[in-house]
Assembly symmetry: C2
Homo-oligomer: 415 residues x 2
């Protein structure tokens, strides 16, 4: 894409009303726009990152048998009363509104209830199980505070996967597959090294749930990590008993600040019993379906990557989720530079490389500062100097390393 | 996809609480689920149709320079007060809710206000214009009645495109391009013949807007169509004066029921003046930006296609938007049939054909009735008889024509 066509502009100053690094940088770089605290619109570059993250998640969840669906925001009060999650005293972050006839409805905070209800139409026998269904969908949570940018939104995108199994063994088998899929997702988006499976509170359904916690000073959570064994415990559940149960030693646990980027839960039969989702087993006996849920927020993940990767110059994107792979920057406006840059842009684009081409009539200083701020993985300079040398200057945004390369070598960097 | 893996089931009976044909059939076929009146979840087959429609729209809107974004549902009261569209007396279909601090917020009914506000950060000079930005986003409208299935939702998906131009000539030029893009979209999804550009009320911004109205008895609108000239007038604005102005003759106008599947509006400077979106022209003079908006609801379009195409047997999908292109149905459970069907499934899938493979252990009658109900464009039968003949039986769902073909010919039908 030619940058003269991209409608977003960058700005030099941090927005005055943001404290989170991710929000400051994403707003300055024109990736997002703040509508109100915890509510952000995604502009073209930001949406491209979000869609790439979604696609990685989609591929990994499809690979373990997930079927994609799209549930609704508007929620029926009666359904949530059956599981005792409607009352504001029980669940304190609902947004609620009313239909014209006066009926109260809520905006979905999560979707166990409606999906369990849907499954009553489609599951009746053990032959109908297992079922794995997921969605990318907007959640609404009326948070008291929302100062963490896109890491904690009042309105935010969530991937939520739900499993429906006949037996505990089937459930555990899928739960392990979902855990492995999550590990792959965090590796693919560039957070593999910093993200740890963490034992956390299981709620009333099971002793533990597992969280995926990414080390970051920007996090709201505290975990205790055994760096050798790659196992962590959330501070919420840390006790001598738990440490012993997990075969760990308090002395080898290091305290870390971290961001919860995903979680996987055993739900047991809580929802299926409350809402009547049962199946007939092989003997003809009616049994409640065993459920699990697996959450992962693409927008929170995007914010986390900003927190981990960004540097003083601005954003830094891993190749797999960058809005464009190459930032082609033409410096100078001689016919040779313009023709050279135009030709390289066409060459790379034809080869399927995603190129943002800075063809704007700005100074070299402005263009290079913007390239750093936007954070694309490779910056390729075309100038009178590079044309004289017969090669282009390529800078790796993350490492800062500069080299000289031809078009073929640039394509090889990406593939 | 193997149908044994698809979690949705069909049902023989119409849902008791639906009057619209689209809702009845889509629910019976397991494409959607009703959460409450006018609020539907999309199940795997339904979501596949919706995504195909979105992709066609996306391709055509990108082709005229649209940049995709994603705005939010939660809306700031103060912004909408500036354009006098907050008060329930002025706009009667808001859903409103409250933040924890008591501030009232709305759920987006449309997005002129927030996008105009965003553009103030990105447009300051004539050099920054034109800008065309669009999104696929959930709209919330608190309709008094919602009995038209997915054709009129309280919560529904909308593609809304907004144009920002410096001059009236630039605006008119883009408006004409958007009109042409819409014509292509309706052709590609299979509604080209039945859809007519219709003069309708322009609101306060211009004399007329243009609607795209699809002929259907299920429609809520009435239009007067000149079938020769392919021009229509919405009943709302029909008068001798308008008929004369458009160079038409009352005697050649035929009354039709129709569904409004899209509309394109001149917005003038209403929003840019109210919200202060100005640019400096070449002479350095501050001018309000000229806007247009272009709406098209993918879910309404999907419902309209059901209304137009479905027959007594069930749904009928045009090839371009069908959830799968081929419904491969194995009849009988002899090893020859199973192997033959498995092999054809793999062959077609490898060639990039989208196949739903009915590998379920049900009777021929149940499988054929389900194939009709699901409405995929081509049904391919593998049975002992077809194996003996060396060819497969192929039925065109829409025309009902049956022929015999090999795998290569089946692939040729799709490409």
């Amino acid at each position: 894409m030619r940058q003269t066509k991209l409608f977003t502009k960058t700005r030099r100053e941090d927005p005055a009303d943001e404290v989170a690094k991710n929000a400051k940088l994403l707003i300055r770089a024109g990736y997002i726009h703040k509508e109100m605290a915890g509510v952000y619109s995604f502009l073209p570059l930001g949406l491209r990152v979000l869609e790439k993250i979604k696609n990685i998640i989609r591929e990994e969840v499809n690979a373990i048998g997930g079927q994609e669906i799209m549930l609704t925001a508007l929620q029926d009060k009666e359904l949530w009363e059956k599981t005792d999650r409607w009352d504001d005293i029980k669940v304190d972050n609902w947004f609620k509104t009313k239909l014209k006839n006066g009926s109260e409805v809520g905006l979905g905070i999560t979707h166990e209830e409606p999906l369990t209800q849907i499954m009553k139409d489609h599951i009746s026998s053990y032959r109908d199980l297992p079922v794995y269904a997921y969605q990318f969908q907007t959640k609404f949570r009326n948070e008291l505070r929302a100062k963490a940018g896109i890491m904690r939104g009042r309105e935010f995108l969530m991937k939520d996967l739900y499993s429906f199994s006949a037996t505990e063994a089937d459930h555990q088998n899928f739960y392990a597959q979902a855990r492995s899929a999550y590990v792959k997702i965090f590796q693919r988006v560039g957070l593999g090294d910093e993200t740890h499976i963490t034992f956390a509170s299981g709620g009333i359904f099971s002793k533990f749930s597992e969280e995926f916690q990414t080390e970051s000073e920007a996090g709201e959570d505290t975990i205790y990590l055994d760096e050798q064994k790659k196992v962590a415990i959330n501070k919420e559940v840390l006790s001598d008993e738990v440490v012993a149960e997990l075969g760990l030693d308090r002395k080898s646990l290091v305290e870390k600040r971290s961001i919860e980027v995903g979680n996987i839960f055993h739900l047991g039969t809580k929802f299926s019993e409350a809402l009547g989702l049962v199946y007939q087993d092989e003997a003809g006996k009616s049994m409640p379906v065993i459920m699990g849920c697996y959450g992962l927020g693409p927008s929170r993940l995007m914010g986390t990557i900003v927190e981990i990767y960004a540097d003083d110059g601005g954003l830094v994107w891993p190749l797999a989720i960058a809005p464009f792979q190459i930032h082609l920057v033409a410096l100078g406006n001689t016919p040779a530079v313009i023709t050279g840059a135009d030709n390289l842009y066409e060459d790379l684009t034809k080869q399927g490389v995603e190129v943002l081409y800075d063809d704007r009539g700005l100074s070299a200083g402005e263009k290079l500062a913007d390239a750093d701020l936007l954070g694309l993985p490779y910056r390729v300079i075309v100038s009178d100097k590079t044309i004289a040398s017969g090669q282009f200057e390529v800078k790796n945004r993350r490492s800062g390393e500069t080299s000289f390369a031809g078009a073929t070598e640039i394509i090889a960097l990406i593939k």
